[in-house]
């Protein structure tokens, strides 16, 4: 069975994000870029499905600038068979809906039986693309999945998705879009062999026009990014414990209005 995995390149989780001189963007200088961690769960699951079935193809796809190719090479090093890079300046300011439309166009060309992605990218945390992609395609979608089992003839998938205090289990007809939650699996590291082999695997470059996307007008655009206000310093209440507790309670009640 053919599986498409949608991945996104994001700043490393340890990045101290700063707003650039353009208040609509972050300063990308010195950022280490990684595969969004939830997308790694999606890649891992796709590879496991292929390994379990003993056949199939896993295709990684991303939308992003030149540097996003590193993310595809990481996916290939983990074991994906080939990759597609939607790389077009016209898509530089793509909102989630535009991204979903572009990915839907890739899906139509590739015709996979399953699309996997992370539950959200850890940069803007929108968590919208998976569901929007399913909507554009008219496919069923399950988000935040913790487990999946595909039946022998790849007609349906049973998924367990995380809900408060347990799992919600669905049987979904394929093709479908699934988004991965942490806990679905433990992603493998690319082995040296995988890294060396990734060089020889194909990464196809695709422009918006190749996907038949004519007018690209994002429905959402960023007005401004604002940094969080600096946290005010804490207050230490000195003195005898008994008096300090009284003062603490008074302050929580009257100043902070927390109790």
């Amino acid at each position: 069975m053919k599986i498409l995995v949608a991945v996104k390149q994001v700043p490393d989780t340890a990045t101290q994000v700063k707003i650039s001189s353009d208040p609509k963007a972050i300063d990308t200088a010195g950022i280490t870029w990684i595969v969004s961690p939830y997308d790694e769960f999606a890649i891992e699951e796709a590879l496991r499905i292929k390994e379990k079935r003993g056949q199939g193809e896993v295709v990684a796809v991303t939308l992003g600038p030149d540097r996003a190719k590193e993310t595809l090479r990481s996916a290939l090093a983990m074991g994906c068979d080939r990759a597609i890079h939607v790389n077009d300046p016209a898509l530089a300011n793509a909102d989630t809906m535009t991204t979903a439309r572009a990915l839907a166009a890739v899906v139509k060309q590739e015709a996979p039986q399953l699309v996997l992605c992370g539950r959200q990218a850890i940069d803007d945390d929108a968590g919208a693309v998976g569901a929007q992609l399913a909507e554009v395609l008219g496919w069923p979608c399950a988000s935040w999945i913790m487990e999946e089992t595909i039946d022998a003839d790849a007609k349906t998938v049973r998924v367990g998705r995380q809900v408060e205090g347990g799992l919600e289990v669905f049987d979904i007809p394929l093709p479908a879009v699934l988004s991965a939650q942490k806990g679905l699996n433990e992603p493998r590291y690319p082995t040296l062999k995988g890294i060396m082999g990734a060089k020889k695997k194909e990464i196809k470059d695709v422009k918006a026009s190749d996907l038949g996307l004519s007018s690209i007008t994002p429905e959402l655009s960023i007005t401004a990014l604002e940094a969080l206000p600096a946290r005010p310093p804490g207050r230490i209440i000195p003195g005898d414990v008994k008096d300090a507790v009284k003062e603490l309670v008074r302050s929580l009640r009257e100043d902070a209005k927390a109790i």
Partner: protein, 382 residues
């Protein structure tokens, strides 16, 4: 200036994740136990971390020396000098003897298991009566039919109590005046060979999770086909692999120092004294600036030698400088990092205390600073 390519960076990410997730949580436990569990080797083999430069037909990675360099840097970032050293010995001090000088039959027989982490290796050169003076080796190998009969002992052998395969240097003929470097050979010896004994495991100041042993051999019969390379040229082979070993030591020293300074920076930002964090005090800031500068100097001296070594150029002088400079540097860094931690730096519960003990080996193991100075002096004042 960039010396690593994208493929190297990807490999670094793999080793770093592995070390952070699977090694670092156990470091304290292994230090206390005085040993590392066996599972790390097959696990590393599975990830392709053992034998990264060896040909794929033997189960190696088919990659380059800079890939090895990354492996050793990342292992040394684990805060466990022991782990880094054990990996360094297996990958770049012991098994290279087989890969670079072994016969095709020996390579086919032993390398795949070494790359899979099923056979752990050690290098047995040093003897109770001599370390850096390799020509002083007294362990004897006497030809008897299709075997060599080996008698003698070896000292300070890293992985000595746990390795399955040893690369053993022995005299095949007595050294004569003016020819003392001749007559030494390196043999591949399985630990199960009758006459092979681990006499004792040594109790060390640092590197306590790594086993170090004294070995003895009594009428140990080793098949002639286990001779590596030509008979009698082992001294030169040992010296050649020493170059690799000393570069790895340089990579270890820099990465260990880097980690210790990062930990110390985190500490001085937290630690409050005289109404503010220590990191606000100029004396602390300047000390850390000095340490970071020394590390950077060590890093680029090491990288420059790595680039030369990788290109196959003669760089004994440069590598000796790397070994000398970085080993002395990591000890200065260790001293200051303990100092910056104050009383806590002297406590076992802080990793910096272990770092100081682990670092102490660096000016001794793999050729002392004194020997390095001798080599450099010979090169610049022939």
């Amino acid at each position: 200036m960039k010396i690593f390519n994208e493929q190297h960076q990807m490999f670094r990410a793999t080793v770093r994740s592995f070390v952070e997730k699977e090694i670092m949580p156990h470091v304290e436990e292994w230090e206390t136990a005085g040993q590392m569990p066996r599972w790390i080797w097959p696990r590393m083999g599975e990830l392709g971390l053992l034998g990264v430069e060896y040909d794929e037909k033997y189960g190696g990675g088919g990659s380059d020396f800079l890939t090895s360099a990354i492996l050793h840097e990342e292992c040394a970032r684990s805060r466990s000098g022991s782990f880094a050293m054990a990996v360094g010995v297996h990958c770049d001090m012991a098994s290279p003897h087989l890969y670079w000088t072994g016969s095709e039959a020996l390579k086919e027989k032993y390398l795949p298991a070494m790359c899979r982490g099923e056979a752990l290796t050690a290098i047995a050169v040093t003897e109770p009566g001599g370390g850096s003076d390799v020509a002083a080796i007294r362990t004897r190998a006497v030809r008897d039919g299709d075997h060599y009969v080996i008698n003698g002992s070896k000292m300070f052998i890293t992985n000595g109590a746990t390795a399955d395969v040893f690369f053993l240097a022995a005299r095949v003929e007595a050294g004569s005046e003016g020819k003392r470097h001749q007559g030494i050979s390196v043999f591949l010896v399985e630990r199960t060979t009758p006459g092979f004994t681990v006499s004792r495991t040594l109790d060390k100041m640092g590197m306590r999770a790594s086993d170090t042993a004294e070995l003895s051999f009594q009428d140990m019969r080793v098949p002639v086909e286990n001779l590596l390379g030509r008979e009698g040229v082992g001294f030169y082979e040992v010296m050649r692999v020493f170059q690799r070993e000393r570069l790895v030591a340089g990579l270890h020293a820099v990465a260990m120092a880097d980690r210790a300074v990062a930990d110390t920076i985190a500490y001085v930002r937290e630690r409050q004294a005289f109404g503010g964090p220590l990191s606000d005090k100029q004396v602390i800031r300047h000390k850390l600036a000095d340490l970071a500068t020394q590390i950077e100097a060590g890093r680029w001296l090491t990288y420059a030698a790595c680039a030369k070594f990788a290109a196959g150029e003669d760089c004994v002088r440069e590598i000796s400088m790397v070994k000398l400079f970085t080993a002395e540097m990591v000890n200065r860094v260790a001293y200051d990092c303990v100092q910056l931690h104050g009383g806590y730096g002297y406590m076992r519960e802080y990793a910096v205390e272990r770092f100081a003990r682990d670092a102490r080996l660096m000016t001794i193991g793999g050729g002392t600073s004194e020997i390095m100075r001798d080599i450099i002096a010979k090169a610049i004042l022939p």
